[in-house]
């Protein structure tokens, strides 16, 4: 990074509004954008009177979750008022299709004021995509961890049932459960679920 480039960037800093109900993710986006030399004007979690806020803040770019219902409010501004932000993530001319697909896949939509050069927007969208993706990866990990935890609980319960009803010790109960899963081509947790269901019916 040359000094000249940095100066150039700060001279053309983009004013960005981030709308995100997830505080943590919004924080990550802000940090990323600041590192890239942009200015985050505001982060809105609550979108009451979004139109009024946008008119007051006058951002160059708005970043928002593609699944946010508030996007329809932004569409209104894009359609009804000329110098208001317009949707860009799917503008073919604003960015290459691969970026667009990645953006939507990651869950980020961007709205920019008409006339902004696509080249200036790309780094902003890149930052947002990266932050959204890392947030999504975290969520995925959390979901998997929760799933694993509940799988283990199921297996423990099934093991307990087998020990009680068939007088097995823990190791033998686990082996029986694993054999059942293998015979039926099921994951261990599914076999455990079946054992519990049958036990509920019979006991």
């Amino acid at each position: 990074m040359s000094v000249a480039l940095d100066l150039n960037m700060s001279a053309t800093k983009l004013k960005i509004l981030v709308i995100d109900e997830s505080r943590q993710r919004a924080g990550e986006i802000c940090a990323g954008l600041a590192l890239a030399g942009h200015q985050v004007l505001a982060v809105l979690a609550n979108t009451d009177d979004l139109a009024g806020q946008v008119a007051q803040i006058r951002p160059d770019v708005i970043l928002i979750d593609t699944e946010s219902p508030s996007r329809d409010t932004l569409e209104h501004l894009a359609t009804m008022e000329r110098d208001m932000p317009r949707p860009v993530v799917i503008f073919a001319q604003a960015s290459d299709p691969a970026t667009i697909r990645r953006a939507i896949g990651a869950g980020v939509a961007a709205y920019v004021v008409d006339g902004l050069e696509p080249g200036r927007l790309e780094p902003v969208i890149d930052v947002a995509i990266a932050r959204f993706e890392s947030h999504q990866a975290l969520k995925q990990e959390l979901a998997e961890a929760t799933q694993k935890l509940s799988d283990r609980k199921l297996i423990d319960r099934a093991k307990g049932l087998l020990m009680k009803t068939r007088g097995l010790d823990e190791e033998a109960a686990y082996a029986a459960l694993r054999r059942l899963a293998m015979d039926r081509g099921q994951p261990l947790s599914a076999a455990a679920k079946d054992v519990i269901a049958v036990a509920k019916l019979l006991l």
């Binding site: 009451d48 009177d49 139109a51 593609t66 699944e67 946010s68 219902p69 508030s70 996007r71 329809d72 409010t73 932004l74 569409e75 209104h76 894009a78 359609t79 009804m80 317009r86 949707p87 993530v89 799917i90 503008f91 073919a92 667009i100 697909r101 939507i104 939509a109």
Partner: protein, 420 residues
């Protein structure tokens, strides 16, 4: 069609000529002879894509798409419909355009807005069929009632006093609700662009927004109008069927690209949803069952009673008046609901032009003929054994007394006293 059908000689000739080209399948439909189910399930007619993702917004009129999947009408035509709940119309549009959704339950006007690139991306789109007529409403807040505004005329008097700014919400700038709202306000002498402020709010959030005083009125699809009454927040000032009896509303929309690459899948979707609409309209019990199904969290997520009353036509306006509305929401009505009339598509263009969303007159008939896939609809209707109307145009008299018959859209669009 009950004699409401408007037949122009030209429309009729074109229609017959096209029908002839389509051959026996379409003719079987016209004469009302249904070929057996699963007509497209074999040979070269097999759907190119068997699993189709159809997006929907939580509204009563998503019912035929949902019931086509729940009641497995889709299987009969060799496809599996995966109904996908969406958070906003903007999201529906983006996912249609980038292919994440194959098709969607979508506002008629939105499809035309994208076709012409109004306020957003421009892409060639396709309307495969109409999903419903009627069943939307304009709600005014109880605060307005207390100020004496209970209908269009009294609202106009209140607005004219200019005591403060009044805000009205609709669901999407190019969509149907914006057009019903603007049309009704203008019919009552209120200029929707100058005399009041208009905002966009997603359907499921209308009632909550009115509760906190963000707007004085809104236009939205049921069940949200009825929900406002039950929650004692507002009342129904006018139903959409009073603005235009049997008006077009939601359509099954997709991209021109998808329709071109998957004509068999498109036909199968049309046939399955025709079956579902016919089933819903067939009996009170079916409507009750439909309401129970779509009330679930995965779909509209509200109480069955809130949905079912107006589905059955049992209206109560929140001001003490109740009536049986024979023009309640319809999903089939012997196929009259579903035929993609060119005049219906053109009407939205005339209103986009009227309110300045289009700066110039488009090629009304050319655009409508390109977007509304009458060819695919005819074939889907034939598979489902649904009769076709005799014209591609239909006529109606709207609430302000003006007649729309699709014959001179440019003149019609320019002929309104109040316009942008």
């Amino acid at each position: 069609m009950d004699g409401k059908e408007f037949s122009t000689d030209r429309g009729r000739r074109d229609f017959m000529r096209k029908s002839m080209r389509l051959g026996s399948a379409a003719l079987a439909g016209i004469s009302g002879l249904a070929p057996g189910g699963g007509a497209w399930a074999a040979g070269s007619d097999a759907p190119e894509k068997k699993e189709v993702r159809i997006g929907f917004i939580p509204l009563t009129d998503c019912a035929s798409v949902v019931m086509a999947a729940v009641n497995r009408f889709d299987e009969k035509y060799g496809i599996k419909i995966i109904a996908t709940k969406e958070a906003s119309w903007a999201s529906v549009r983006d996912k249609l355009v980038n292919g994440e959704l194959d098709a969607a339950h979508v506002l008629y006007g939105l499809i035309y807005g994208v076709q012409l690139g109004i306020g957003g991306p421009k892409k060639d789109m396709a309307v495969l069929m109409g999903l419903n007529h009627n069943g939307q409403a304009i709600t005014l807040s109880n605060q307005l009632r207390d100020k004496g505004a209970t209908d269009g005329a009294s609202l106009a008097r209140l607005v004219a006093k200019k005591e403060r700014e009044y805000t009205f919400a609709q669901t999407f700038p190019t969509g149907t609700h914006a057009m019903w709202l603007y049309y009704w306000l203008a019919a009552n002498g209120i200029d929707p662009m100058k005399d009041v402020k208009s905002i966009t709010v997603p359907p499921p959030q209308m009632v909550a927004n009115m509760r906190v005083g963000n707007m004085d009125g809104f236009c939205v699809g049921e069940p949200w109008g009825n929900r406002a009454i039950i929650d004692k927040i507002g009342f129904t000032a006018v139903t959409s069927q009073e603005i235009w009896t049997d008006h077009p509303e939601k359509v099954l929309g997709t991209t021109a690209d998808f329709a071109q690459k998957h004509p068999n899948t498109a036909r199968a979707m049309i046939a399955a949803i025709l079956d579902a609409g016919r089933w819903i309209d067939a009996s009170l019990a079916n409507k009750q069952k439909t309401a129970e199904t779509i009330a679930q969290k995965a779909y509209v997520n509200t109480d069955t009673e809130v949905i079912v009353a107006r589905m059955l036509g049992r209206y109560e306006n929140g001001l003490g008046k109740s009536w049986d509305d024979k023009n309640h929401m319809k999903f089939y009505n012997d196929g009259a609901v579903n035929f993609p009339y060119l005049s219906d598509g053109m009407w939205f263009l005339t209103q986009h032009r009227r309110w300045g969303l289009l700066k110039e007159d488009p090629d009304y008939a050319g655009v409508a003929r390109k977007v509304n896939r009458i060819d695919l609809y005819q074939q889907g209707a034939a598979a489902a054994g649904v009769a076709l109307p005799k014209s591609e145009l239909r006529a109606a008299r709207l609430i302000d007394g003006s007649v729309w018959d699709g014959r001179d859209p440019k003149k019609y669009a320019a002929g309104f006293k109040i316009k942008a």
